[in-house]
């Protein structure tokens, strides 16, 4: 333990050099804006700015990109809360409650809550990273296909078991999402599936951001237009130092959700192939299921902002762990970071912690710094963001619309996805009118491909026998937890009914 401490202090000596500190600030600011742009997430940010890092030494480069990754996680929440468009795939869960808070006039509170939760999630995960990197890498290795599949089941269980929503409608929404997630190329047989009208755009499957931006961006706009019936609408939006401090004080009530989100996010982030998006969605689901008043979620509950925001920052640190220790990316963003490391001449993998101590510990130390700076920069920008919300909707709506189209186009650069997004917008609006929950569909399209692949791989490994999910200790345990989570809200609901009768 003392050794870790010494190494960390050496790391801080690297991270606190003025050039590196400057890179941290630059990375945080760049990340904040890239994250806030719909469709542009940390993946694009890191990919675009990777060539710039040839100008500085490798340690400086990874510090810059690490800070950018963090900044993007903070920034993603901004457009989710203010405009209802997920700024990045990792911030989709933040729209569920962040947007309703903004509509109630509490946008500043939601932004402060998101920033603070991100800070807590980031800090907890970096501490975990500092103390337990090598043993946790072994945990990641223990996760084979059966474990991954049961983890996905757990994620679905948190969403089905939401007592307050209409369960058949939730199931319907999940099924729609799952069906859409099968479009594209089947990974096991390599055959194309559900290529509607032979359109080549369906070959890459239905990008989940296209669905999320369609439903939440376009759908939301249609909804507000209908509600306002042509009247001039100006959202209430206040901000003051007093309100910010007040919100921070109130966050005491959601510390549990913050901690849960941090640990869950970190753990999911460590598992290769998962990353921050499933982590934040699962944290939201768990926060809602475990809450005493799950029906307040989705209507502007601050806990629904805190849990996913803590989780996505924690997961972003978590996903660096398999990258550094195993050379396997835990998320698309770290996959690109990994490419960067190869260019800088560093060999990620088990030897990195031994051969390049200054690099690894400089990175870890700079994550502490990045976390602090991202928080400060974010809070400093809040009044500016709030000013946007004070504009009349007639001006805001076209801006949102443009942002949605750019966001739908940017990831694949394919107009096919823009048309698809517009269709999803209309369908999402209609589903909302008919009171269907939309979040489960989004969850399903994210987790569907992971669940399908891991289930089929497990079955191939076991010659088609389902017992593999029960007999392996880790997957068996996760399965039991999933079943409890599924049944728990039903028991609660039954108890409530009984007490109501009596």
């Amino acid at each position: 333990m003392i050794e870790v401490f010494n190494l960390l202090i050496e790391g801080f000596a690297v991270a606190l050099q003025w050039q590196n500190l400057l890179l941290v600030v630059a990375g945080c600011v760049a990340g904040l804006f890239i994250g806030a742009m719909p469709g542009l997430g940390s993946v694009n940010g890191v990919a675009i700015l990777l060539p710039l890092t040839f100008l500085v030494p490798p340690t400086g480069a990874i510090i810059f990109l690490g800070a950018l990754y963090y900044g993007a996680m903070y920034g993603g929440a901004i457009s989710s809360i203010m405009l209802g468009i997920p700024g990045a795939s990792t911030a989709v869960a933040t729209t569920f409650d962040g947007r309703p808070m903004a509509l109630k006039g509490d946008a500043d509170r939601a932004l402060v809550a998101a920033a603070s939760a991100s800070f807590v999630g980031g800090t907890i995960s970096v501490v975990l990273f500092t103390l337990f990197a090598p043993p946790l890498a072994d945990v990641a290795l223990k996760f084979g296909p059966p474990e991954e599949f049961t983890l996905m089941i757990l994620a679905f269980a948190t969403f089905v078991g939401l007592g307050s929503d209409d369960i058949p409608k939730t199931l319907f929404s999940i099924m729609i999402g799952l069906a859409m997630s099968t479009v594209g190329l089947d990974i096991v047989s390599g055959q194309p599936r559900l290529i509607f009208f032979d359109l080549p755009g369906f070959y890459h499957g239905i990008n989940f951001l296209v669905l999320a931006i369609g439903i939440y961006g376009i759908g939301e706009m249609l909804w507000v237009i209908e509600q306002s019936k042509g009247k001039m609408v100006i959202s209430k939006a206040e901000v003051s130092v007093r309100r910010i401090l007040d919100t921070i004080k109130q966050l005491k009530g959601s510390i549990r959700q913050m901690l849960m989100g941090s640990f869950l996010g970190y753990f999911v982030g460590i598992l290769p192939a998962a990353g921050a998006t499933p982590g934040s969605l699962m944290a939201y689901g768990v926060a809602k299921t475990m809450d005493r008043e799950p029906e307040t979620f989705g209507r502007g509950n601050i806990k629904g902002v805190v849990a996913p925001e803590a989780a996505n920052n924690a997961a972003s640190t978590g996903s660096m762990l398999p990258m550094l220790t195993l050379g396997i990316p835990g998320s698309p963003t770290t996959a690109i970071l990994l490419g960067g490391m190869v260019i800088w001449g560093l060999e990620p993998g088990p030897r990195l912690f031994v051969d390049h101590k200054d690099f690894v510990w400089g990175l870890i130390a700079s994550l502490y710094a990045a976390n602090l700076f991202a928080l400060l920069i974010n809070i400093a920008f809040i009044p500016a963001f709030i000013a946007v919300l004070r504009m009349p909707f007639t001006i805001l709506a076209p801006v949102i619309y443009v942002l949605c189209v750019v966001g739908g186009y940017a990831p694949t650069k394919d107009m096919h996805d823009v048309w698809l997004m517009l269709i999803f917008g209309v369908v999402g609006y209609l589903m909302r009118k008919l009171d269907y929950p939309l979040a489960p569909a989004v969850l399903a399209i994210v987790l569907g491909p992971l669940a399908e692949a891991s289930m089929r791989q497990s079955l191939i490994m076991n010659q088609g026998g389902f017992d593999i999910f029960v007999t392996r200790p880790i997957s068996g345990t996760i399965l039991v937890i999933a079943i409890v989570l599924l049944v728990w809200p039903m028991i609660k609901a039954m108890n409530k009914r009984r007490t109501a009768k009596a």
Binding site: F33, K142, S189, G190, G327, P332, V406, M461
Partner: protein, 334 residues
């Protein structure tokens, strides 16, 4: 209000950086052609895989040494095992601002999906930069030390007990596995995963028993003594350095037919102007000769092999026939 203009400008900036490039079609080609806008460097695989990392590495070399007046911007079109990318190139015939980094799905994807209507011999050849190699890997704990041990262990475990991990069915790893099965009369359960990196991790986590990973995917684990290579699917003497210390199947006395490569080449859409082709050939010639590329080849166990022009097209056509036969043997195509 100011903020909104700021965000709008950001949006516009992003739209410009990402989009406009691909809308504008070039019409003329001046002498001593040079790109007039960023070059779209299409990758026929998703972000983070081996092909993607390699393409971004090449982009890095071009950027670092300023080999091109305009940047190369990577764009992943991995849908349908690269079907999307190939179709995109075909639909952009004559567009000199697009190039594609290929892998062996260049052959297998059009063979398996004749519906996309792509004939790879029509594309403009730029350069072959290397051929990536394959090795047979097991974990150190398995106690298996040679191909002989391996054959015995697989036969003992039986088809249901021996799990070979690899990338999707019909892709490179499954073809190499089929070679192995046919040669030694083995039967294994083939478990497909999304990418080579995941396959490597599944082996180290002992969820599968063996893999046919590329060197770059297992290098870290080999260094850490978690996995060992039993044999290389290369001809004798092609690999250098530590990778050369791995016996080839030929050296082990199993004949010369246990060879399979993954080509790493760059091509352009059909019918681009000759001087645009020359420009790209000269850029990749510089990449090929760069210190970074050459040291990458030795470190990551790739076989150097510069090819360009008609020779490259002839190579593609020859390899396509090899793959047609491999896929037929596998029962993947008729």
């Amino acid at each position: 209000m100011k903020k909104v203009i700021g965000m709008g400008a950001l949006a516009l900036g992003a739209a410009f950086a990402f989009g406009v490039g691909s809308f504008v079609q070039s019409t003329d080609a001046a002498a001593a052609w040079k790109p007039r806008k960023p070059v779209e460097f299409v990758i026929m695989a998703g972000k983070g895989g081996g092909a993607d990392r390699l393409a971004r590495f090449i982009q890095g070399i071009i950027e670092k040494h300023k080999f091109s007046p305009k940047p190369f911007i990577p764009n992943n079109k991995g849908g349908g095992s690269g079907a999307e990318a190939l179709r995109y190139l075909k639909d952009n015939a004559g567009n000199p601002h697009i190039i594609l980094a290929t892998l062996n799905s260049l052959y297998t994807t059009p063979l398996r999906n004749p519906g996309i209507g792509v004939d790879i011999s029509k594309f403009t050849p730029i350069a072959r930069l290397a051929e990536d190699t394959f090795q047979l890997w097991v974990t150190t704990d398995s106690g298996i030390k040679s191909v002989k041990d391996y054959i015995a262990a697989v036969k003992k475990a039986g088809a249901a007990g021996w799990k070979m991990g690899g990338t999707g069915k019909g892709q490179e790893d499954s073809l190499v596995t089929a070679l192995l099965e046919k040669k030694f009369g083995l039967k294994m359960t083939y478990v497909p995963f999304k990418g080579g990196g995941t396959v490597a991790k599944q082996l180290i986590g002992k969820h599968i028993n063996s893999t046919v990973n590329n060197p770059s995917e297992q290098a870290g684990f080999w260094d850490a003594k978690k996995s060992i290579p039993l044999a290389s699917f290369t001809p004798k003497g092609k690999l250098k350095g530590k990778w050369g210390s791995i016996p080839t199947f030929e050296e082990l006395g199993h004949g010369t037919d246990m060879v399979y490569y993954m080509q790493r080449s760059v091509i352009a859409p059909p019918g681009i102007p000759k001087d645009a082709q020359d420009f790209y050939v000269s850029v990749f010639d510089k990449v090929y000769k760069s210190k970074e590329w050459q040291s990458y080849l030795t470190k990551k166990g790739l076989v150097p092999g510069w090819l360009t022009g008609n020779e490259l097209t002839a190579y593609f056509v020859k390899e396509r026939e090899v793959h047609r036969k491999l896929l037929k043997d596998l029962g993947e195509i008729k």
